[in-house]
Amino acid sequence: MAPPVLEIRNATKVYRTSGGFLSPKKEVVALQDYSLTIEKEPASITTIAGESGSGKTTLANVVLGFTPLTSGQILFHGQDLATMNRQQLLNYRRNVQAVFQDPFGVYNPFYRIEHVFDTVIHHFKLARSGSQARDMIEDALNVVGLHGVDVLRKYPHQLSGGQRQRIMMARVYLIKPEVIVADEPVSMVDASLRAAILEAMLSLRDELGVSFLYITHDLSTAYQVGDKINILYQGSVAETGTTVQVIDQPQHPYVQLLVESVPAPDPNIKWDTEIELPDEEILRSATSTGCRFYPRCPQRMDRCLEVAPPLYEIDGMGHEAACYLYEDEAQKAPAI
């Protein structure tokens, strides 16, 4: 069997401050022992969700090769990102593309939109002639529901945020990568325009076989388009499974709190309980041993402090939660 397109093995990223005159050295574990596999077939959208500080953007940065891992590996078709030569890296960058959060910041305001496309066609030598290039651009724009005559000669400021983000999707389509890392692609776009971008993601998946790492804090858009979901809490996975499993039946106490806290768009269903947040220091000082969610967990046990719980299988269908509450079920599961 061919190796998966992208495999992340036990990735750990620790940020260290060098320590100053009066400040001691500090270590922040942004990502701990994280593993993920994205298979070539079928193409899928994997959501990485979590609150700020959960390590989701760190994950995007290490996958895109912006920062090296502290330990662990990222394998692309079985080859380690850290040992790639120049040619292989160029190939990797071509096949693992990014769409970022801010549709305003990624454009150079001095250039027309066509410049975005010309640059990638030139850089990756995608077309043999000018007319071929024009056809390719038009094709790519059509996939995201735009037309060349409407946008190519315009400047970025003349387009809406939603259009700009879709042009980024079209740019990525042109390159035809195998994986797209989409870091909060819809969070700065108005709700009524988000659907068009999410739709563009779905058509890239279904028509081109592109897999996505969809990084977001918004569970509701993930629920609409995501195939699988990984919910991170302070650098490690709290729960993973198919999007429907995890959001319909959250198992980890943190994920339960998270899902319940999404405001229901229905005036007849109001929040019924008040919740308290423990103090910030207690949250952040959670040690590297033990469960990171311990200070906030309503169902905590003494053993949670000793060793962090591994992922336990919930139902034998790929739904896993990192919580000792499910240890028994996991032991029963193999027998079935």
Partner: protein, 345 residues
């Protein structure tokens, strides 16, 4: 709840804030951008009104217009804002300064950037108090600040801290504490929770609800998250391109939105209950310097009629407490003849 409702209803009929034909323009070299194009609404005693719309719809500008915080090149072109009988737009600055915080308070959008980084948390609050009430007894002031902390659920140990030592949710709660410090009549909360994580957002939102209830203030909540609006507000006013297109009780608008734009807004709320096909709407709007004649939504409206391109529909009450600005409806809220709207429902 039940015994208080009679009194509640009476209170709810008293207007505390009346906004009439408020217009705010931003001057640019190529003509004025019409950010708020003449809006009218009332805020009743004790109610929370949600002002929603996409970015650029003028919702924040409208709030800044009410607070007289519009900065050049923006200016209030015309209109009246009456707060408890006082006309604000024409009031001189020194009188208006007296009303800020005591009658009209703002909880700003980015709490991260609205606290003074060089001042300890308690000083930010006592500063506002002393600016209005003059020098105070130290111990009394300290008690007042601690009472405010208790109200918004902040621990006492924050008293001497600096803003950078607090998390986003705590800073936001400090801003709420400042907002309520002088018992204002009206609080305007501008996207107060949109930069926070879901769980923290819920804590802050619930704090706001609790405080509002305890003090009986009226509130205008500006935002774009319809889910949060459903949790927090009594009435919703939908803004599009500088105009109010629909004003309605929150339950009604979620059940039966009338304006085509409100329908888009309600339908595009992603649900955690069911996976449904995404509904795509085109996002092309007109040039804000030069709005087309007629209805402002005509370029995006799926039901646009000849009539809409020439005559702007006024905001009018078509059902009980339910106002809409759309030619599709008769005065009694029924659809005009010959129109099929089932596609949107």
């Amino acid at each position: 709840m039940a015994e208080a409702s009679g009194q509640d209803v009476q209170r709810r009929q008293r207007k505390v804030l009346e906004v009439r034909n408020l217009r705010v323009h931003y001057e640019t070299p190529t003509g004025d951008v019409i950010a708020v194009a003449g809006i009218d609404f009332d805020l009743y005693d004790g109610e929370t009104l949600g002002l929603v719309g996409e970015s650029g719809s003028g919702k924040s500008t409208a709030a800044y217009g009410i607070l007289k915080l519009v900065q050049p090149p923006g200016r209030i072109v015309e209109g009246n804002v009456v707060l408890d009988g006082d006309e604000l737009v024409t009031m001189n600055d020194s009188n208006f300064r007296q009303l800020r915080w005591t009658k009209l308070a703002l909880i700003p959008q980015g709490a991260m950037n609205s606290l003074n980084p060089t001042m300890r948390v308690h000083r930010q609050i006592t500063d506002a108090i002393e600016a209005h009430e003059g020098k105070q007894d130290k111990e009394e002031l300290r008690q007042r600040v601690l009472d405010l902390f208790r109200m918004v659920g902040l621990p006492q140990r924050l008293y001497n801290m600096f803003p950078h030592e607090l998390s986003g949710g705590m800073k936001q709660r400090v801003c709420i504490a400042m907002g309520i410090a002088l018992h204002p009549t009206v609080i305007i909360a501008d996207e107060s929770t949109s930069a926070l994580d879901v769980v923290v957002q819920r804590v802050v939102a619930q704090t706001m609800l609790r405080v509002k209830k305890a003090l009986g203030v009226s509130m205008i909540m500006i935002g774009h998250d319809m889910g949060l609006m459903a949790q927090m507000v009594d009435r919703i006013a939908v803004m599009y391109a500088g105009k109010l297109v629909e004003v309605s009780p929150v339950e009604t608008i979620f059940e039966d939105p009338l304006h085509p734009y409100s329908q888009v807004l309600i339908e595009s709320i992603p649900s955690l209950k069911e996976r449904k096909p995404l509904k795509i709407t085109e996002g092309i709007t007109h040039d804000p310097r030069n709005p087309p004649p007629g209805c402002i939504f005509q370029l995006r409206c799926p039901f646009v009629m000849e009539h809409c391109r020439s005559e702007a529909p006024p905001l009018r009450e078509v059902k009980a407490r339910h106002q809409v600005a759309c030619h599709l409806y008769n005065d009694d809220g029924s659809l005009i003849e010959g129109v099929k709207v089932e596609a949107a429902v």
